[in-house]
């Protein structure tokens, strides 16, 4: 009987379940893909149930359930911080204590009830150790520095580790309230976006601005002695129940942007008045400054990691590791020859890390092969899909194994298609299993995708996917970025010669968050792009996640059909079925 381990991350945002069979990932999926609530933080009961069903087992067969945090340490941090910020924390304290004393503190019991496991089968990993494990154990490296940077877990907000084979040793940590992740989130909120959701928008906005607020913002975040510290007077996350910024931040940076205000910087004024343009440009410049600070901070931390640990490889995890522009700079300018980032670098990935930590570090089992693919989530048998399409009266054709070529032809004919193939991706990026695809060459396609399908802010770029064989013709990818680019985790320059060609996927600053598609690990997606390349001479497609605004990425054929019908997509592919729009 193999050993099954169920990893769980939950109760903050992006909860997820991961099932290991003898250390190998059988299934990994976020709860939002089942509950259809974006960033769903609830205990991932449905995701876990699905993982067990995929493996054909029940919860009774699971040897260990591993939670990705030590809840008591987190409680200690929240309580200690409330005491240390007395009396400013008067509003936060009752709220936190009610949540903790009435519920979260008793997590062991809650886990047993929700998942049906016995209390002695439940283990707890530290938040940052979960991140570190999620970055190191799936990597091909046996000796690596590991850098975790996020908002906060228990105490650590940034941590440095050394991973050697099956052991991960702590080297140093930066503790709450000093946090790069929370800093970026505070700026995100100041720029009128939702925290834990709008960080990518800040990154997109930054490209329209100049970092001309360094004098002001360097007062907030200081790099020193290999680490960093914040001037806490400007922030409120350690004492306010809901706000990240203190009134002082507003005095320094000016009034916050009201959510939903049209963004009309100088590059794309769209007929706005001078006052609106100036205001938008100001926000773009703030975003650019914060982004530059984060990039430099990541480089600074990476250099410190090199000095302290001295390995050839660096593994990065935590929410800040999803900042693909910073990743590119660490790869291109940093001291490490190899960079490895796991596709679910944020909190969802903690479920994977916790489970792998239990398997390798607690139970002492040897390492296995590296994780090379992200399609670890939910899939649906062909006959179930066919039945659904029949029942819904869909106009479809079973194109068999020709689906990739047919899709390539459709793309070449200018169609915008929904491409749902096999198992859904692990992590926030769509990597050719739950993607909307289009011709990357014309900027009009970008607008068409935006207006007809995604309804999102026009300043957010779309990403290109390129076949590995031709990646270097179009993009300037540093050697250390090779692995991150597989999971669309690094944003680098598009070659000058290709910028005009890739009009729809090149950002205003000449960069792109490219995904390099390998024939070995993504065979069908590789075929789609190759076919498109054969027809058009450009082996690149525009790839954005298959979801409508405010909804999680689709996971089942029902989700795909509902999104297809409600959007302006021309065609939908579900595995071998090519579905046309209803008449």
């Amino acid at each position: 009987m193999p050993t099954y381990i169920l990893g769980i991350s939950a109760l903050y945002h992006d909860s997820a379940a991961v099932l290991l069979r003898d250390g190998e990932v059988v299934a990994a999926v976020q709860e939002e893909r089942f509950s259809r609530l974006k960033h769903d933080p609830a205990l991932p009961v449905r995701a876990a149930r699905w993982c067990l069903a995929r493996a054909g087992i029940t919860i009774a067969d699971v040897a260990w359930l591993v939670f990705y945090e030590k809840p008591l340490r987190k409680f200690d941090r929240i309580l200690s911080t409330s005491v240390a910020t007395f009396p400013k924390s008067w509003a936060a304290f009752p709220r936190h204590m009610r949540a903790w004393l009435g519920d979260k503190l008793w997590l062991r019991g809650n886990l047993c009830e929700a998942f049906g496991v016995r209390p002695d089968r439940v283990l707890f990993c530290e938040h940052h150790l979960s991140h570190a494990a999620s970055a190191f154990f799936p990597s091909p490296h046996r000796d690596a520095a590991i850098l975790c940077v996020d908002g906060v877990g228990e105490w650590a907000t940034t941590s440095l580790w050394r991973g050697r084979d099956t052991a991960i040793e702590p080297v140093a940590e930066v503790r709450f309230p000093h946090s790069l992740g929370l800093y970026y989130s505070a700026i995100t909120a100041h720029l009128g976006f939702a925290v834990n959701e709008g960080e990518f928008k800040v990154m997109g906005m930054a490209a329209y601005g100049q970092p001309r607020f360094r004098a002001e913002m360097d007062r907030l975040l200081k790099l020193d002695d290999g680490g960093f510290s914040l001037d806490l007077d400007y922030f409120a996350w350690h004492w306010h129940p809901s706000q990240a910024a203190s009134p002082k931040l507003e005095q320094l940076l000016g009034p916050p942007r009201y959510p939903g205000t049209p963004f009309t910087p100088r590059a794309t004024p769209e007929g706005a008045g001078e006052a609106e343009i100036a205001a938008s440009q100001r926000y773009a410049d703030l975003a650019a400054t914060a982004q530059q600070q984060i990039e430099e901070a990541m480089l600074h931390l990476a250099r410190h990691a090199k000095a302290k640990v001295g390995t050839e490889a660096l593994c990065v995890a935590g929410g800040v590791a999803l900042n693909s522009v910073a990743n590119h700079r660490v790869a291109a300018e940093g001291p490490f020859a190899n960079l490895w980032i796991q596709p679910a670098a944020g909190d969802a990935g903690g479920a994977l890390g916790a489970a792998l930590w239990a398997w390798h570090s607690v139970l002492g089992n040897p390492r296995g092969p590296a994780l090379e693919r992200a399609d670890l989530g939910r899939d649906t048998p062909l006959d179930r899909t066919r039945e659904l399409l029949d029942d819904l009266g869909a106009r479809y054709e079973d194109v068999g194994d020709d689906a990739p070529e047919r899709a390539g032809d459709d793309l070449a004919a200018g169609k915008v298609i929904g491409w749902m193939d096999g198992r859904c991706e692990w992590g926030p990026r769509a990597l050719g299993h739950r993607s909307i695809l289009a011709d990357p060459r014309r900027p009009e396609t970008r607008d068409a995708v935006n207006v007809r399908v995604k309804y999102r802010e026009p300043f957010r770029p779309f990403a290109p996917s390129v076949v590995a064989e031709h990646a270097d013709e179009y993009f300037d990818i540093p050697a250390a970025s090779r692995e991150p680019a597989r999971f669309m985790l690094s944003t680098g320059p598009v070659r000058e010669s290709a910028r005009a060609t890739l009009g729809a996927t090149t950002h205003v600053d000449g960069t792109a968050r490219v995904q390099v598609v390998d024939a070995g690990t993504s065979p069908r997606y590789h075929r789609v792009i190759s076919r498109f390349g054969a027809e058009t001479g450009v082996p690149v497609v525009l790839n954005t996640s298959f979801n409508l605004k405010g909804e999680p990425v689709v996971s089942s054929p029902v989700d795909a059909m509902a999104s297809f019908v409600r959007s302006g997509l021309d065609l939908l592919y579900i595995d071998n079925f090519r579905v046309e729009r209803p008449r």
Binding site: G102, L107, C112
Partner: protein, 66 residues
């Protein structure tokens, strides 16, 4: 091992005592004795909160009494 293990009321209560003990143990291990009184008071409040939640459908009446 039964397939759908569900802890009984007694087991849940015992588990919670275990959690409270682990919390106190963690603080003593870290040498922060001074936090013990505070945490004890809070745990006591926590018990009250949990009790009120278990009968939350009459909570307004209970609070009227106080």
């Amino acid at each position: 091992m039964s397939e759908n293990y569900q802890p009984s009321k007694l087991e849940t209560t015992l588990m919670r005592f275990g959690t409270a003990g682990a919390l106190l143990a963690m603080l003593t291990r870290g040498g922060r004795w001074w936090m013990l009184p505070l945490v004890l008071v809070l745990l006591f409040v926590g018990v009250g909160l949990l009790f009120l939640q278990s009968i939350h459908y009459v909570a307004p009446f209970i609070y009227m009494v106080f």
